[in-house]
Amino acid sequence: MRGFFHKDNQQRKENANGLDTSLSKNIERIQEIFYHSSDLIIREIQIGKTEPIKAGIIYIEGLADLPSIHDYIMESLMLDMDETNRKQQNYFDFIKQQVLTIGDIAYISDFDSLIKAILNGGAVILLDQQAQGIHAKAKGWKDRDISEPHSQTLVRGPREGFTETFSTNTSLIRRKIKLPDLCLETYTIGRMTQTEVGIMYIKGTAGEHIVQEVRKRIRSIDMDGVLESAYIEEMIQDHSLTPFPTIYNTERPDVVAAALLEGRVAILTQGTPFVLVVPALFNQFYQSPEDYYHRADISTLIRLLRLLALFIAFLGPSLYVAITTFHQEMLPTPLPVGLAAQREGIPFPAFVEALLMETTFEILREAGIRMPRAVGQAISIVGTVVIGDAAVNAGLASPAMVIVVSITAISSFIIPSYDMSISIRILRFLIMALASSFGLFGIFVGIFALVLHLCSLSSFGVPYTAPFAPFIVSDQRDALFRFPQLGLMFRPHLIRRTKKKHSTFFNPTS
């Protein structure tokens, strides 16, 4: 453990020394360090029958589990202890070995680790005449139960989701992969929040260079607080100047387990059900875990449908604007005539019309997320009025535009990853602007620049657009298509590879 307390708090620094032999002095000091906080409980007791000795039990109310402190510490010490059993043992070893009926115990000898132990929900036992203490890990705060994840819902598949508790999350993964090679490395990050952050991978399956890189980046994080895995994500991503997510996040243990089996690395954060998975490629963001829970042929078709939806969500309004403004000749003659008739009373160019409707929709969507649940009904009523018949009757939008906006909106909900869906939403407006000024040529230039941008991205050294560019034949089994499980026995090429250097390890043909 690094001495976080040394870093920024002068007061603490002075205290960063060993415990005193006097119990009352130690207790006084702890009181001082915590500024006499009222939730710090210090219970002074006497233990031993023949030669009583003063002892103190220190913990924070609500963090430590009261029943276990009562039953396994206080009861053991005050009622059941029989020091006639003590031979030549050190008093501490005696207590540890024969008295305390609690699982996980450690010795502490300085204030730094004492404070850390207390703040992590442990109970600390101090004895008079001893410059040492026992840290009994009796953590017991209230956890949320494991429930169905809200962000990624499936028709078929496991119903459990991660919770806010670190150890619950790691156990959810361990339950799925019963393998000693599944490693967990825990770091404490955040100067003030002291958040547990763990990286999990399967030794021998995950590329050692990727694990090394994750370790390096996690270690280099230096910030005051880590309240959600997004803090970590932002600090360790390869590129910050991009609308695309280069780290995948999920609430589902099955997704994380699948990623680990493929050789990826999971990053768990205390206090959030969202677990990060790296490296994350573009490919992953339109795939759903359900693809693997249905038959291969169905999954492939659904995946292609999702890709089509992604395309519509991205280009729908732009294509409509470009074709109706610049390229009417591309449509069969009756269609542009009908469209022109619809747009007759509308005072705006198609672009402004599209912008108006799209913005309205985005506002509705954002409102739907932010507002209190109780008024949820209102949004659907208002929504149907604003984007719907009323807008058309008011002469603000043509019926065709309403259809385009609606299908775009629905399509954007199909994208399984919320992060990717946001990126697509933002980029849609950019492409719309290009389409309104340069027609299809503008759209093309936009796509060209975008593909190029995607090609320049990487996630922990793995090219973001793999397995399409660089093209990897063997990985096509699980890219656009989903081959039957028999064909999926091979792990993704780039992630499995173990080589040291970044720039050279994507070399598909050699």
Partner: protein
């Protein structure tokens, strides 16, 4: 210069995109009338031989781009200006292709948009590419190439199924071999096959040097077959007369397709094909020019030159000809003879022979020295 490497598949894609680039859209070899498609194949033979010469130069100096090879063979004093001429040449071709592309967009889509805007947009997009370097360009090419080939295949199939193909238009086959040869040499040899000269600058980046030349030859044959097929379709559908007059025959041909009164006006595919091909062609030539200039002037960060050079490219492409007819006339009558032939054939052949001679002399010297 750059650490990035490209693999053979990426090289293959880039060659296809460059060879087909603008050639598949314009009426290639139409001077040979209905036998244009034969002229392409005849021209291919010369092109392959020429590429073998380039490949041989590359094998002798595997780590050097063309500009470096020239300076190595001719010496710094004579080699530097020649290399510089090549840089200007690459930039010039980039400007020409850019002009082709912009005009095509005006003709096909945006007839009221000024050329300046379209050229400017394209230059900006291409500069953005080159800012990321050859590795990203190659990956992007790899990504687009399947779509590109698919579009060409699709359009050829659509023409076939539209029932417009009239094979009578192709007769008499091989009417006049002299005319075919005159068309193939030098016109088709220099455009598109001679343009492979640009890859002499990129071959040092290929990760598997031994397979590079073979891949190049394969890609050339592949693209020649596609070109030939496209011209057969053009001529069979609208006749050599129209192909000869239309600025973009492929566009005209696809415009005629009408399947079940539903699939019509699919010339959008032709525009897509030209834009993708054109973009990559300009990008490759421009990148190579950039590479050359930064090595000749020993600029440490080539990416700094991207936007200044982009500005030059932009203006060059606009002032290269006062109108499209002049542009085409220059491209068919002057440029092949005055620019392409000496730079694509003359200089490389000369360099090649010189390098072989020096090698032989060196060997003999060593031999003499060894025996003495």
């Amino acid at each position: 210069m750059e650490n990035a490497r490209i693999n053979v598949y990426q090289l293959f894609c880039l060659i296809i995109l460059l060879e087909l680039g603008s050639a598949v859209i314009v009426g290639l070899g139409i001077k040979a009338k209905q036998d244009a498609w034969i002229a392409v194949l005849v021209g291919l033979i010369g092109g392959l031989l020429l590429f073998l010469v380039y490949g041989s130069l590359h094998r002798q100096f595997p780590d050097l781009p063309l500009t470096g090879i020239i300076q190595r063979i001719l010496g710094k004093f004579l080699g530097w200006p020649v290399a510089f001429i090549y840089v200007i040449y690459f930039l010039y071709i980039a400007a020409r292709v850019l002009r082709d592309m912009s005009v095509m967009i005006v003709v096909a889509w945006l007839d009221r948009t000024p050329l300046t805007i379209l050229t400017g947009m394209s230059v900006l997009a291409i500069c953005y590419v080159l800012h990321h370097g050859i590795g990203v360009l190659a990956k992007t090419g790899e990504f687009f190439c399947p779509f590109y080939l698919f579009s060409i295949l699709l359009s050829l199939l659509l023409i076939l199924f539209s029932g417009l193909v009239n094979l009578e238009n192709l007769r008499p086959v091989a009417e006049d071999w002299k005319r075919i040869f005159v068309t193939a040499y030098p016109l088709i040899l220099t455009f598109p096959f001679g343009e492979m000269i640009v890859f002499t600058m990129l071959l040092p980046y290929v990760r598997q040097p031994k397979a590079a030349v073979k891949t190049g030859l394969l890609a050339m044959i592949f693209s020649a077959l596609i070109l030939s097929a496209a011209i057969v379709m053009d001529i069979a559908t609208v006749g050599e007369n129209v192909v000869g007059r239309a600025p973009f025959p492929f566009l005209a041909t696809l415009g005629k397709v009408d399947i079940a009164e539903f699939l019509q006006r699919i010339d959008i595919i032709a525009v897509f094909i030209l834009i993708v091909g054109g973009f990559f062609k300009v990008a490759i030539f421009f990148y190579v020019a950039l590479m050359g200039i930064s090595s000749l002037f020993q600029v440490k960060k080539p990416s700094r030159l991207v936007y200044p050079m982009g500005t030059i490219l932009f203006f060059l492409s606009l002032i290269i000809a006062s109108n499209f007819s002049e542009h085409i006339q220059e491209g068919l009558a002057i440029v092949p003879w005055v620019v392409h032939l000496p730079l694509q054939v003359g200089v490389p052949l000369f360099l090649w022979m010189l390098s072989l001679l020096t090698k032989r002399f060196n060997k003999r010297d060593q031999h003499l020295a060894g025996s003495a």
